[in-house]
C-alpha cells in the first residue's frame, strides 16, 4: 500500500482510516486458502451462532484475505453493529411498552400476573441478547484490528473537534457529513433520496393543502402526521387474547356501510343524518315553534336511509346530505329515547359525543353534548359518554357500529327489569331518584363474531335475549368496569 503521510490538520477521507502506519489489516500476509464451506442459514438460528461462526472463520481467514476484503468485512461488521444498536434501542421501546401494558392489564384484571411477567421477561431477554451480540461483535472488531489506533488517530490529527471517520448510512466513509450534503451527495442511495422526496412533498402538501390532511390521519405509518404512537404488534396479541376480541370483525367499515347494516338489522331504530349546522337549525326552529319532532315528521320527511344505497360511487346522495359532510346522527327509538351522536371528522365512523333525550323533547340544547331535562336521560348520557370512550379506545374502526348496537339494547329501557333486583323502578341512593335500569353492559358486544347477529337476536325475539340491564346502584363493579 502507498505510504502516505497523514496531514497533521486534515485527514483526507479515504486514507485516514486505511493509514498503513496504524492498521494491522495491511500488515497481514496475503496468503489465501480455499474458502470455507458456506454457512447455511437456518430460520431458527440464533444470531449468536452466526456471529460465532464468523468469528472463527475470520480468525482463520484474517491472514489469508486481501486487505480490501478485510476492509469490506470490517465495514460489514460495523454496519451490523449499527443495526444491533438500533435493535437495542427498539428493544428499549418495547420494554417500556411491555411495562405499560402489564400495568394496564393488571389494573383491569389482577390475574394477569404470569402473562405480564412473561412479557416483560421476554423483552428483557431480547434486549440482553442484543447487548451480548454487540459485545461479541465488538470483540471481533477489536480482534481484527479495526479499533486499534483509533484513539491515537483521533488524538494525533486534531480535526477541529469533528470526530472521524464518519460512516454514512449508505456506507460511504467521510470526514464531514456536511461536506457531502453541500456537494449534493447527501442522499446518495435511492432509498434516502426517496425518503427525502416524500418528506419534502408531505411538508408542502401540509402547507398548501391543509384540508386534505384530515384524510391522511391514521394512514401514515411514518409517524409524521399520526400523533399517537402505534404499539408494537407483538404486544397487541396479548391484549387481544385477554379481551377475546375476534380480529376478523375488526375491518374498517365506511359510514354508509355501518348505517346500512344497522338499518337492516335494527328496523325499530330510526337513524337520520344531518350536517352539523343543519341539525342546530332544526333543533332551534322546533323549539321556537313549539312543535315536537313527531309533528315534524308528518310534515317533512327526514333523509331516509334508503337513499344511501342508491349512490353509485359518487360522494353525494341524491339531493340530500353529502356523505362526507355527515356529522350528526339522530337515533330515534319511538316512545323510548332519542340519541344524538356527533361524528368527528365529518363523514367518518368515529363518534366523539353522544347524548340522550326524551323522544318528545324539543329545544336548541339538544345536541351531542347537551343535557336532557329528565333525570333518566341525564344518567344515560353520562354512562353513554364512558361507553363511547371505551369503544373508541378499544376498537376505533368499529366504534360507531358498536355504539349503535349498544344503543339498540336500550329498546327495552322501560320494560326490562333489572337483572339483579328484578324490578323496574329502584331508588338511586346517590341522587334520591326513582329510576329504571339505565345501565346496559357493553363489553359483551365485543365478544360477538358477527356484529349483526346481536341486533337480529334482540329485534326478533326479545324473550330469549341475553342482554342484561342494571340500575345504577345494582351494577356489580367487579364485573363491568370500564
Amino acid at each position: 500500500m502507498m505510504q502516505q503521510q497523514p496531514s497533521p490538520n486534515i485527514a483526507s477521507p479515504s486514507t485516514s482510516f486505511l493509514s498503513p502506519r496504524s492498521s494491522p489489516l495491511f500488515a497481514a500476509s496475503l496468503d489465501q486458502e480455499n474458502p470455507n464451506t458456506p454457512y447455511e442459514y437456518k430460520p431458527g438460528d440464533n444470531n449468536n451462532n452466526y456471529v460465532q461462526y464468523q468469528q472463527e472463520s475470520e480468525e482463520k481467514e484474517n491472514e489469508k484475505q486481501a486487505p480490501p476484503k478485510q476492509v469490506a468485512q470490517a465495514m460489514e461488521r460495523l454496519a451490523q453493529a449499527g443495526r444491533l444498536v438500533a435493535q437495542f434501542r427498539m428493544g428499549g421501546d418495547r420494554f417500556t411498552e411491555a411495562l405499560f401494558t402489564g400495568l394496564s392489564l393488571k389494573q383491569r384484571d389482577p390475574d394477569t400476573d404470569k402473562v405480564t411477567v412473561q412479557l416483560i421477561a421476554s423483552e428483557e431477554a431480547s434486549m440482553r441478547n442484543c447487548l451480548e451480540e454487540l459485545r461479541t461483535l465488538g470483540m471481533t472488531l477489536e480482534a481484527s484490528g479495526v479499533m486499534i489506533g483509533a484513539l491515537q488517530r483521533l488524538q494525533e490529527s486534531p480535526s477541529w473537534g469533528l470526530h472521524m471517520p464518519l460512516v454514512c448510512p449508505d456506507g460511504a466513509v467521510v470526514a464531514y457529513a456536511w461536506k457531502r450534503q453541500l456537494a449534493g451527495q447527501a442522499a446518495a442511495s435511492a432509498v434516502d433520496r426517496t425518503r427525502l422526496a416524500l418528506k419534502a412533498f408531505t411538508d408542502q402538501k401540509r402547507r398548501f393543502f391543509p384540508h386534505l390532511e384530515e384524510h391522511t390521519l391514521g394512514n401514515d405509518s411514518d409517524g409524521e402526521i399520526h400523533s399517537t404512537k402505534r404499539p408494537c404488534t407483538s404486544l397487541l396479541g396479548i391484549r387481544n387474547r385477554k379481551q377475546d376480541i375476534v380480529n376478523e370483525s375488526d375491518q374498517e367499515l365506511s359510514l354508509s356501510d355501518v348505517l346500512k347494516c344497522v338499518d337492516a338489522d335494527a328496523p325499530a331504530m330510526k337513524i337520520s343524518i344531518y350536517q352539523r349546522l343543519e341539525w342546530f337549525k332544526k333543533a332551534s326552529s322546533l323549539a321556537l315553534k313549539g312543535n315536537s319532532f313527531l309533528e315534524l315528521s308528518k310534515q317533512e320527511q327526514s333523509q331516509p336511509l334508503a337513499k344511501l344505497g342508491t349512490q353509485t360511487g359518487g360522494q353525494t346522495i341524491s339531493g340530500s346530505v353529502p356523505l362526507d359532510q355527515i356529522s350528526v346522527l339522530d337515533v330515534y327509538v319511538p316512545s323510548v329515547f332519542r340519541a344524538i351522536i356527533s361524528l368527528t371528522p365529518a363523514g367518518s365512523t368515529i363518534p366523539d359525543a353522544v347524548a340522550f333525550f326524551s323522544p318528545d323533547e324539543v329545544g336548541s340544547y339538544m345536541h351531542a353534548r347537551g343535557v336532557s331535562i329528565h333525570n333518566i336521560y341525564q344518567q344515560m348520557s353520562k354512562y353513554g359518554e364512558k361507553v363511547l370512550q371505551y369503544f373508541v379506545r378499544v376498537r376505533p374502526q368499529s366504534s360507531l357500529d358498536l355504539l349503535l348496537r349498544w344503543l339498540n339494547t336500550y329498546q327495552s329501557l322501560f320494560t326490562k327489569p333489572c337483572s339483579k333486583c328484578e324490578r323496574i323502578l329502584a331508588m338511586d341512593q346517590v341522587s334520591a331518584l326513582l329510576l329504571p335500569p339505565v345501565i346496559r353492559p357493553h363489553q359483551d358486544l365485543l365478544l360477538h363474531k358477527n356484529p349483526s347477529s346481536v341486533l337480529t337476536t334482540n329485534a326478533k325475539d326479545p324473550s330469549t335475549d341475553v342482554e342484561k340491564a342494571f340500575h345504577v346502584g345494582c351494577l356489580v363493579e367487579e364485573e363491568y368496569i370500564l
Binding site: P359, I376, F414, T415, L425, A432, L434, P436
Partner: protein, 213 residues
C-alpha cells in the same frame, strides 16, 4: 304529552273522609324529597240540557262533563260518557252555553291541591269538593319523559305499588286504587294526550259521585 295515572283514595267502610288524608299524602311526598311547586285548581262540571220542548228529549244526550284546568286556560275538554266521546273545545264554549241557555250546570266538582316534582315524576294531590263538602282525595301521577302508555305500563304499575305500600304503612284507614279506564273504548291511541286526561278525570268524578258520604 307525558303519561298520567290517577289514584283514588278509598276510605274503609265506616271511616269518614277528612282533609287529614290530604295532608298525609302531601306530607308523604315531602318526606320522600318531593319538591312543592305550586297550587292547582281544576273543575269538572256536569252539564244537563235545559229542555224547552218535550220532543227534544229523544235524541240529545242526558248529560256530559266539561273539564277545565286552571294552568291550561285555553284548554277545555268535554266527555260524553254514555257515547264514549271525548273532545277538546274552545274555552269560551261554556259561556256560549250560558248565553244560549241550552245547558245548565247540574253538578260542579272543584279540585284544589298542590303540585310536586319527584325526580322524573310530577305528582298532584287534589281535594275534590262539591260546594264545600269534601267528596274525595285524588293523586295524579305524571311520568314526564315518555308518552307511550304501553311502554310505561310496567313502570307505572310499580310506582303504584310503591305508593300503596308507603301509604298502607302510614295509615290503616283506607287505601288507594288506580283508576284505569279503558281508553280503547274512547278510540284513543297509545300516545297519551289531553283527551286521555279528560277520560281519567271523568272516571274519577263518577267514582266520587258514587261514594256518597
Amino acid at each position: 304529552m307525558p303519561v298520567k295515572r290517577l289514584y283514588f283514595w278509598q276510605p274503609n267502610v265506616g271511616v269518614t273522609l277528612t282533609t287529614q288524608i290530604f295532608n298525609l299524602l302531601c306530607k308523604c311526598i315531602e318526606d320522600a324529597n318531593g319538591i312543592k311547586e305550586c297550587r292547582l285548581k281544576a273543575n269538572i262540571v256536569q252539564y244537563r240540557p235545559i229542555l224547552k220542548d218535550e220532543n227534544q228529549r229523544m235524541d240529545i244526550v242526558r248529560e256530559f262533563l266539561g273539564i277545565s284546568f286552571e294552568e291550561q286556560p285555553d284548554k277545555h275538554l268535554f266527555v260524553i260518557r254514555s257515547h264514549r266521546l271525548v273532545m277538546e273545545s274552545d274555552s269560551n264554549l261554556p259561556s256560549i252555553f250560558d248565553k244560549l241557555q241550552s245547558y245548565r250546570k247540574a253538578i260542579t266538582l272543584n279540585f284544589e291541591g298542590f303540585q310536586y316534582k319527584f325526580g322524573d315524576f310530577q305528582l298532584k294531590v287534589f281535594k275534590v269538593s262539591q260546594s264545600e263538602t269534601l267528596k274525595a282525595v285524588v293523586m295524579e301521577v305524571e311520568y314526564l319523559p315518555v308518552s307511550s302508555l304501553e311502554k310505561t305500563r310496567a313502570l307505572m304499575d310499580e310506582f303504584f305499588e310503591i305508593w300503596q305500600e308507603l301509604l298502607s304503612s302510614k295509615t290503616p284507614s283506607g287505601h288507594i286504587f288506580n283508576i284505569d279506564p279503558n281508553f280503547a273504548d274512547y278510540h284513543l291511541s297509545d300516545h297519551y294526550s289531553w283527551q286521555h286526561t279528560a277520560v281519567l278525570y271523568s272516571s274519577a268524578m263518577a267514582q266520587a259521585m258514587s261514594t256518597r258520604n
